[in-house]
Amino acid sequence: MIRETEALVIGTGFGAAAPALRLAQAGCRVTMIEKGPRIDPFKDFRQTSDPQYLLRYLKGVSSERLSLTFAEALGGGSGFYEMVSLRAPSLVFDQVEAGRRLWPAGIDRATLDPYYDIAERMLHVNQIAPELVPKSGQVFALMMKRLGYSCDRARYAERGCIGSGFCVTGCIYAAKQSLLLNYLPQAVEAGVRIETDLEALRIIPLPDRRYEVHCRRGRTAVTYRTRLLVLGGGTIGTARLLLASRDTMPFLGEHVGRHIAFNGSVKAAAILADDLPDGDMFTGRTHPGMISYEFLESEGITISAGKAMPLQLLAGVRLRMHGETRQPDWWGAPNVEMMKLYRHRLVALYSMGLTPPAARVMLGPDRAPELVLDMSSALTKYYKRTKELLHSILLRNGCRLVDVEFVERDGGAREDVGFSTAHQVGSCRMADSKRHGVVNAAGQAFDYPGLFISDGSAIPSSLAVNTSLTILANAERIAEGIVTRGCARS
């Protein structure tokens, strides 16, 4: 079955929604295809700890020291994100690699600001009011205040949030502004056709400058032909598709799948000192309201408090009281004592940092993505220095440290360098030339006219803040370029 469309947008998340909407508004006949299932934001989300529910939508790829999470569902990660919507600080755009600026010339915070404005309007982004900051965020802010550090109220994409605490399983109140509530319905209204449960497998450039995209829904093969192809399947999804298309796209270059940046997230936990009030771990927004930029210039990191429902906590890490000598120390009575403190007395801090784009994804023998993180001494040093800083904040507030160990593949655990994030970017990065990246500053693939990449894979560096708003703003910028240059109809 071969279908023709003027523009084919692969993916329905933050990188895909803006091009689809803008192209449709410009009069282009647009089709979006999504590998994951359709979601009705008013019916399908749950406040749940059922792993089967979460794993229906959330997927992961991991290596020994890095694990990445992404969504495969209508709306991409927007249904399951924490709704934190922050602009990348200016210094993000000045990061260099081997003396070369990571971002293409002419793209910086000032360039993106007008597109951030658009994205914020679409998602109803606002700074949280002081009286709505959850207890866990208030306690974190108080700890920073006692040390003389600054802390800012964060910004969120929400309308009428009541702080029920289940942002990451999907907001059952439709308060969190996922793309299911704005971009995608507007796109449909503008004429976009959205197909779900349809996976793009391979791209074949045709002699007439069109692209043929081979897809699959279950056992049914579907082929699309289009003159304008926009890849918005996310950092892993887009890299995977292009890697699978290497034999038909010989001019792609060497950078596909490489240079993945991951916002170097480091975590620390402690039991609150007696003179600090309870920090309720289960109530209020998943991201508890506050972010500190205090160490952005000096250490290249931001710091926030973390919250996790028991499922998210237990499935990822083991906690044990620092200095616990009883055995067993991670199950049985000592663990129960620890877990009883969890809701009210546990505080968790995490940082996001400007770590280099040091990971890469490849296709394994079964075409499944395989992840590699090139650990350097600098990265190890960053991890240890950042963890020491987080511990220092906790200890100077009189807190008692909790050892955090990552659960390993074999069910064991280790207390060592390990990163986990949903903020991966850069597997098909923008660059000034093909020598350094996959697409140019306009998002167009080098040597493949009419093929654009508008998702996180085009973002060339860590951001030190949540990535969704920057991905969306950059997608708006790329979409505007496609429309104004008339690429949609050329």
Binding site: Q47, S49, P51, L54, L55, K59, G60, S62, T69, R87, P89, S90, Q127, I128, P134, K135, Q138, A141, L142, M144, K145, S150, C151, D152, R155, G165, S265, K267, A269, D280, F282, T283, G284, I291, Y293, T302, G306, A308, P310, L311, L313, L314, A315, G316, Q327, P328, W331, G332, A333, N335, V336, M339, K340, H344, A348, Y350, D410, G411, G412, S420
Partner: protein
């Protein structure tokens, strides 16, 4: 700690923590005591005693605390009979008593012995502890149940979000609207 890490490990729940490599020959050949192959009640009793040692004080109410270990949507269930028989065998070796009749301290000693055994057995025991903790602390089978032992209410039930007088808590910001320059 972070929710994102969870997906990796939840995937393991489905992929099978205990299923990786070198599955014990005794499992493959089903060469363990017949009573554990043909007596689901015995398996259930043994596994419930195990969960009570992993999370002492957990009150299951009318639910089965070993449900996750027997749930065929998770691969551990394929090893449940063997695991129960292994607990029983070690209990016999150490205390000459069926596992479910041991004291909490004795059951703990049996589980520690399993965790100290060969690599494959260790994986099996780790996987069983891990799955038990996830299932019971997080209340994965009932969205409303939560876990009273740790004060987890399950669904949102209208708790107070913030302390009054936020000015007491919030330090001076660095930005005017929350975005760094």
């Amino acid at each position: 700690m972070e929710r994102r890490a969870a997906v990796r490990y939840l995937t393991l729940l489905l992929a099978g923590v205990a299923a990786e490599s070198c599955t014990p020959l005794r499992v493959l050949t089903r060469s363990f005591p017949l009573e554990f192959k043909n007596n689901p009640e015995l398996v259930g009793r043994t596994l419930r005693a195990f969960t009570a040692a992993v999370i002492p004080g957990f009150d299951p109410g009318h639910t089965d605390p070993a449900r996750a270990l027997l749930d065929h949507r998770y691969p551990f269930a394929a090893y449940a009979e063997f695991f129960a028989s292994d607990l029983s065998r070690r209990a016999g070796d150490l205390f000459a008593t069926p596992f479910e009749q041991l004291t909490l301290e004795q059951r703990t000693a049996v589980i520690l012995a399993g965790l100290d055994a060969d690599g494959t057995t260790r994986k099996l025991y780790r996987g069983a502890i891990y799955l038990t903790q996830v299932a019971l602390y997080a209340g994965i089978y009932d969205d409303e149940a939560g876990c009273a032992l740790i004060g987890y209410p399950g669904l949102y039930r209208g708790a107070t979000i913030s302390y009054e007088d936020p000015a007491v808590f919030l330090p001076k910001p660095r930005t005017s609207r929350g975005n760094a320059a």
